[in-house]
Structures are given as structure tokens and as C-alpha cells.
């Protein structure tokens, strides 16, 4: 397994799992990504940006990236917003208006979950904003607890996006993206 050191203390990005997430997105048909870089998805984002088959747009904010994804969907792309879960805070307006009122959907792949493995106090807002906003807005979401589930969860999530014309979120906890503690 290829691992890369994140910072001191033995915490390392899991490059193999990032590769599996990247491959799962492609196998689901995702061909357009907007992302706001975050530390958890560092390796996945590197793969997405380097992928010539994936149109990747780095946005200045998560809500801007969501709107870019919505425009891409109108043009026939299969878009995914890749972001930290704190982006649900800025993105809630887009999810309500563009996704649920205009009926323009996209997939969301977000890092962090509500509590599991969250080892830094400064990531607390991801816990407050992520799953509570998704629950409150009635947006379906799943958590990838085991990396071997990633291909089927991402594939099925996209099918729901297309079939229901509704955003769906796939959330990725720390233990999938990092090795060690």
C-alpha cells in the first residue's frame, strides 16, 4: 500500500483508498467535478485534477462549485461536487434553490462525518453542518465505512441523482482517507 505522510504524529493519507474513490467516480460515469481543496481529499483531488478524462474545475467556494456542477448537468455532464462537509453550510442555499426548486441535481462527495474519527476541534463545524443539513433538507446520504463499498455506493448514489433529479451525498470519514491516528 502506498502511503504518504501528512504531517507529524504518524497520520498519513491513504493513497490507495483515494485511488479507489477516483476509480469509483469514473465507473459511476462521473465526468465532471468541481472541487474546493481540503486536507482530507488531498490525494483524491490530485488524481482528479491530473485525470485528462475528468473535467475538473477548482471553485473559490463550495456553493460556487455546486452552481458550476448544476450548469454542467444542464449541459449533459454527470457532475460531482467534491468538498469538505463544512461546505454544506455555504452550499445550503444552492441545494435548496437550484437543486430542489429548479430540479437541477448533482452528486456530492464530502469528507468528514458527524463525529466518527474527527480528531481535531477545528473541524467541529463539519459535524454541525454536514449530516444535520442533509437530514434537515431531506437529501439522501450514505457514509462509506468500508472502502470496498465505495464503488457500489457511488454508483447507486449517481443513479438516484439521475432518476430522482435530486442531489445525493456520499460522505467519507477520516479512517478511509488516512492511515494511523
Amino acid at each position: 500500500m502506498v502511503m504518504e505522510k501528512l504531517r507529524g504524529g504518524g497520520v498519513r493519507h491513504n493513497v490507495t483508498n483515494a485511488s479507489i474513490l477516483h476509480r469509483s467516480l469514473k465507473e459511476a460515469g462521473i465526468d465532471f467535478v468541481s472541487l474546493v481543496p481540503d486536507s482530507y481529499f488531498r490525494e483524491l483531488n490530485r488524481l482528479l485534477i491530473a485525470d485528462p478524462e475528468m473535467r475538473t474545475v477548482i471553485a473559490t467556494r463550495e456553493d460556487e462549485g455546486m452552481a458550476i456542477c448544476a450548469g454542467a448537468y444542464l449541459g449533459g455532464k454527470k457532475p460531482c461536487m467534491v468538498m469538505e462537509a463544512s461546505g454544506y453550510g455555504s452550499g445550503a442555499g444552492v441545494l435548496a434553490r437550484i437543486c430542489q426548486v429548479h430540479h437541477i441535481p448533482f452528486l456530492i462527495l464530502s469528507s468528514h462525518v458527524s463525529g466518527l474519527g474527527e480528531m481535531y476541534y477545528f473541524h467541529s463545524e463539519t459535524r454541525f453542518l454536514g449530516e444535520p443539513i442533509l437530514r434537515g433538507m431531506g437529501i439522501p446520504f450514505v457514509v462509506i465505512y468500508r472502502i470496498e463499498d465505495a464503488p457500489v455506493l457511488i454508483r447507486e448514489a449517481w443513479l438516484s441523482v439521475e432518476g430522482q433529479r435530486h442531489p445525493v451525498a456520499v460522505m467519507v470519514p477520516r479512517h478511509i482517507l488516512f492511515e494511523g491516528r
Partner: protein, 208 residues
């Protein structure tokens, strides 16, 4: 010197051919509906997100011009998107900002452009290099002709008057959900995307 926004929209409607159009909220979309509706118009996109939606659409359909039309209040809410657009360089994207210096639909309170802020300087700073600053209808017509005919992205800023509050601009005869489906159906009928079907729209893809 300023112009009436609806007069500028009449010029745009006359020059426009097959371009896809996304507008912001407020009277600008209702005025465009009145003087230049097509099924390839998507109206009432929330403030701050008209330009990034236009960017996504332009990147998905590089063979077709996409025109974003919004007011200064909406533009000010989404300035980061200008930087993203400038760096993505979508040659088929045109941004038109009608600047009346006010939140027209929100009590006519002043926006920052009524004070010290200059949108053309901010656009330039973001990296939008092809710009037209229009103070009259003649220069706006020149700008539209140029922008629709050449590789962009273009930024067109037009100083406009506030809408007369007694002027009646009827609302659209469809809601925003219906507008989306009309728009997508139109893209399908124009051959830009594959057929739009019920259920899993696996066929809703860019046409090869």
C-alpha cells in the same frame, strides 16, 4: 449617461441567435421574457450563482455560446466566480452585468457600486481581459455583436437606470421547475444533448 435596461435587452434579443441564456432574479428576467423569450432561457437563478452556472453550462457545451445576464447585486454576491471563469477561459461564455447601483427588487437600497466599488476594475482584477464598458445603447450593441461573434470569455458592463416602480413587468407564466424542464427539452431538441426521458436519464448526454 445611463440606459433603460429593457431597451438594452431588446438590442440583445435582436442580435441573439442560438445562444443559451441564464438570468438572475428580479425584473431583468421578466424583462427578457417580455422582449426576447426563447425556450433556451433559464430565469431566476439565485443571486451570486448565475455566473458559475453559466460557467458549468459553457464547459459542458463548448460548441454553443452561453450568455449570463444579471444585476450588480447578484454579481457582487458571486465575485469569486469571476476568478474561476477567468482561469478556466471558457471561450463561449459572455457575462452581461446591468449595473443600476441598487437592490432594485429589495427596496431600491444602494449596492456597493453606488458608492466606491467599480465592477469593471474587479472584473479586470479577476482576470477577465475582454471587456466592454457601455454607457449607451450604441456601445452596448457593438459589445453584444463582438461578444457573440468572437472567442471570449467576455465581460460586458452596462450602467442602467432603475426600473420605474410604476412599470408593470409581468411575471413568467411558468415556475422555476417547469422552466428547467423546458430548457432541458429545448437543448435536447436542438441536438445539444441526447434525448430527455423519464426515469434514469442515462441518455441525457452531450450528443456525440
Amino acid at each position: 449617461m445611463t440606459v433603460k435596461r429593457i431597451d438594452a435587452l431588446k438590442i440583445f434579443a435582436a442580435e441573439r441567435k442560438e445562444e443559451l441564456v441564464i438570468t438572475g432574479v428580479g425584473a431583468v428576467g421578466r424583462e427578457l421574457y417580455k422582449v426576447g423569450h426563447k425556450d433556451t432561457n433559464l430565469y431566476k437563478i439565485q443571486m451570486g450563482f448565475v455566473s458559475p452556472m453559466g460557467l458549468g453550462l459553457a464547459l459542458a457545451l463548448p460548441q454553443r455560446k452561453v450568455v449570463v445576464i444579471e444585476g450588480d447585486g447578484s454579481a457582487l454576491m458571486g465575485l469569486g466566480a469571476w476568478a474561476t471563469i477567468a482561469n478556466e477561459v471558457p471561450g463561449n461564455l459572455v457575462l452581461i452585468v446591468f449595473d443600476n447601483g441598487a437592490y432594485e427588487g429589495g427596496g431600491r437600497h444602494p449596492t456597493a457600486t453606488a458608492g466606491k466599488t467599480r465592477l469593471e476594475v474587479m472584473a479586470r482584477g479577476a482576470g477577465l481581459e475582454k471587456e466592454f464598458i457601455c454607457a449607451d445603447l450604441e456601445s452596448f450593441q457593438v459589445a453584444v455583436k463582438e461578444a457573440l461573434a468572437h472567442e471570449g470569455p467576455f465581460f460586458i458592463l452596462v450602467k442602467v437606470e432603475l426600473l420605474d416602480p410604476d412599470e408593470d413587468i409581468p411575471n413568467h407564466p411558468f415556475d422555476m421547475t417547469e422552466n428547467t424542464y423546458i430548457f432541458m427539452r429545448a437543448l435536447s431538441q436542438e441536438g445539444l444533448v441526447e434525448g430527455w426521458v423519464e426515469g434514469v436519464s442515462a441518455s441525457h448526454r452531450p450528443r456525440k
